[in-house]
Amino acid sequence: MAANGITLEQLYNGFRDPDTIKMLLAKIAQIAPQLPEPLRIMEVCGGHTHSIMKFGLHQLLPDNIDFVHGPGCPVCIMPKERIDQAIALAQQPDVILATLGDMIRVPGSDTSLAKLRAQGADIRALYDPLDALVLAQQNPDKTVVFFAIGFETTTPMSAVLVQQAEAMELDNLLLHVNHVLVPPAIDAVMAGGEATINAFIGPSHVSVITGAKIYQAAVDNYQTPLVVTGFEPVDILEGVLMLVQQAIAGEAKLEIQYRRSVSHDGNLKAQQLVADYFELADAFRWRGLGDIPASALRLKPQFNHRNAELKYAQILPTDPVDDHKACMCGEILKGIKTPQQCKVFGRGCTPQTPMGSCMVSSEGACHAHYKYAGVSL
């Protein structure tokens, strides 16, 4: 089985080797007593959270090393009012709303896209943003709105979508842009002063696009080691080992464990593509974290004709909507609390009835804990 010439087996073969995993765990356990203080490692990316819980890696580390889950899940950080906007768009006559993956499950204030779809709204879950082009071509009498989400990983695909739509002169394809950035989220966690994070695992997919260079400022500003790490258990444990070694040596460096995919400079072509079509937005309100300046992208003014937020400004709700009061997602995303410390975790708040953002997406911290460890394992 192959995709783009790479066999899919190559994606994981070797990176789950039990002997290598045990060897890395033994090495970490051997040197961990030398740590000057407990190491609290934030994995910013939801994919890492998912992997850590799925492979049970958190169970196997010495007591003075903890994983802390960060604000790196594109679904988790989407504020309810933005989902309400997607819902309002999907309710417009002659609109097809298209988005990625489990975004359609996320509840807004009153409903979710999935529930709206069941009521007859034309909502499509795409595997690939470029499928929106086909939708627009096949439905010339409808307006296709792509609800674009994700960190730096998915932004280039949205840029290609705009590029192609322009080239094909597809007037009936608009974007509602919700692309957010990792470095401002790290700043938001560290600047708050409440989190006791002293090491970071850097997101891997994001870094393939941006290069590791985007984290240098955080490493310098907070004197915190950061290792860009892959998603497999061997990757994550090697990343942890590198962080432990830095901490013992009293260093704060930017390192790359995931060298098979990530370079210092990243994919320059993709970065240029993003720069061609997007610019920094003044601020974005993150679910649980609040307004973070310059933390998201928007379409450049010359592409206003594709901006669904402008075209449908009259009908889009804009009032901020907070999570349930009992929900601790904000504190969890900031690394101050763990899912198990939340009173509603696994009780009132489950993947079927999520009260907060972290329980919604499979990459959310609460969802990953609930799915793989529940309230007791």
Partner: protein, 334 residues
């Protein structure tokens, strides 16, 4: 000839008149012919000896044709397998077609032929049926409902599960779900993935003939292996412990799961079943099942710990839940 091949089902074929009669005789009777069906009565008269199992299921799959099977094959295998899982000999089936106006006759006939071929594997017969044609847009091409009855020769039930029982899967898991996902529009994966779609009765019969006490059996269809094990654990209020390294997973299925963020244990199967047997019969049961599928294996055991939960152990010493799948399968975002 080409014109004939492209003939399509029209609303009149469901109208109860000449056209419908032709459809039933020239397509359904032709391929499903047996002594009970051809009597052409309002209901089939059947003879049973002992307790009877009765099941029904409706089948819809997109695409209707996939590597390793099609809608017709699934419609027979699915119901025959439900009977087999109840320890019943698959004997008599009913078959209801809901056909969307415009379906090509050639496709309908190929699906009916596929059903007939699948019936031959268990010896079951279609003894009654129904045909409806609905206007274009009212159905997705073709829906098939099959019901089945058969005489019970064993009585497997989750109620008989006990701590210590071995849990066996009859082959590698998730092949059907992965195959359907890979063939869906938008993925365009270059794949040789084959669905596991198949009739399980011969394998079940071999177990029963050899005197294996099949304490509980369930075919792991929608929701996959994870759904079966969780339902058993919860119903019996016992735990089930599964060794991750024991799970038989085809590398192509695992690769697709890695790409989209799915779990093989949550993907649908159409020819894979889970059976619980006493530990002392496990080796013999696996040997019998391996005569049908070389990947049949013991994956875990029923235990007193973790009541109501399925716990998966990793080869490096960690534990995690094998969760009951929730919602529709959607690929991860990044």
């Amino acid at each position: 000839m080409n014109e004939l091949k492209k003939r399509r089902v029209e609303l009149s074929h469901g109208g109860g008149g000449v056209e419908m009669n032709n459809l039933i005789r020239k397509v359904f009777f032709k391929h499903f012919e047996n002594d009970i069906l051809v009597r052409d009565e309002d209901a089939a008269r059947l003879q049973f000896d002992g307790p009877v199992a009765f099941t029904t299921d409706s089948f819809t799959v997109s695409p209707r044709h996939f590597n390793g099977g099609d809608l017709g094959k699934i419609a027979i295998a699915g119901t025959v397998n439900d009977l087999a899982m109840a320890g019943a000999i698959p004997q008599y089936l009913s078959c209801g077609f809901i056909i969307e106006e415009g379906l090509e006759f050639a496709e309908l006939e190929s699906l009916v032929q596929s059903m007939a071929a699948e019936l031959a594997k268990s010896g079951a017969k279609i003894v009654c049926g129904d045909t409806k044609v609905v206007p274009k847009g009212a159905a997705d091409g073709l829906f098939i409902n099959t019901s089945g009855v058969g005489t019970c020769i064993a009585a497997p039930s989750w109620k008989r599960l006990e701590a210590g029982d071995a849990i066996i899967v009859s082959r590698d898991i998730g092949a059907h779900g992965a195959c359907i996902l890979a063939s869906r529009e938008g993925l365009e994966l270059d794949t040789e993935l084959q669905s596991d779609c198949d009739t399980l009765w011969p394998a079940v019969k071999a177990l029963l003939d050899a005197g294996i006490d099949t304490k509980a059996m369930r075919d792991a269809t929608r929701g996959g292996l994870a759904a079966v094990l969780n339902e058993w654990a919860e119903a019996r209020e016992l735990g089930i412990e599964v060794a991750e390294q024991a799970l038989p997973i085809d590398p192509a299925v695992q690769g697709l799961c890695e790409l989209f963020g799915f779990e093989p244990a949550e993907l649908a199967n159409e020819g894979t079943f889970v059976v619980a047997v006493a530990a002392e019969q496990a080796e013999q049961a696996v040997a019998i099942l391996q005569q049908f599928q070389s990947t049949a294996t013991v994956i875990g055991k029923v235990c007193n710990e973790y009541a109501g939960k399925v716990v998966q152990t990793s080869p490096w010493g960690s534990k995690r839940y094998m969760e009951l799948p929730k919602g529709e399968l959607l690929p991860r975002i990044c």
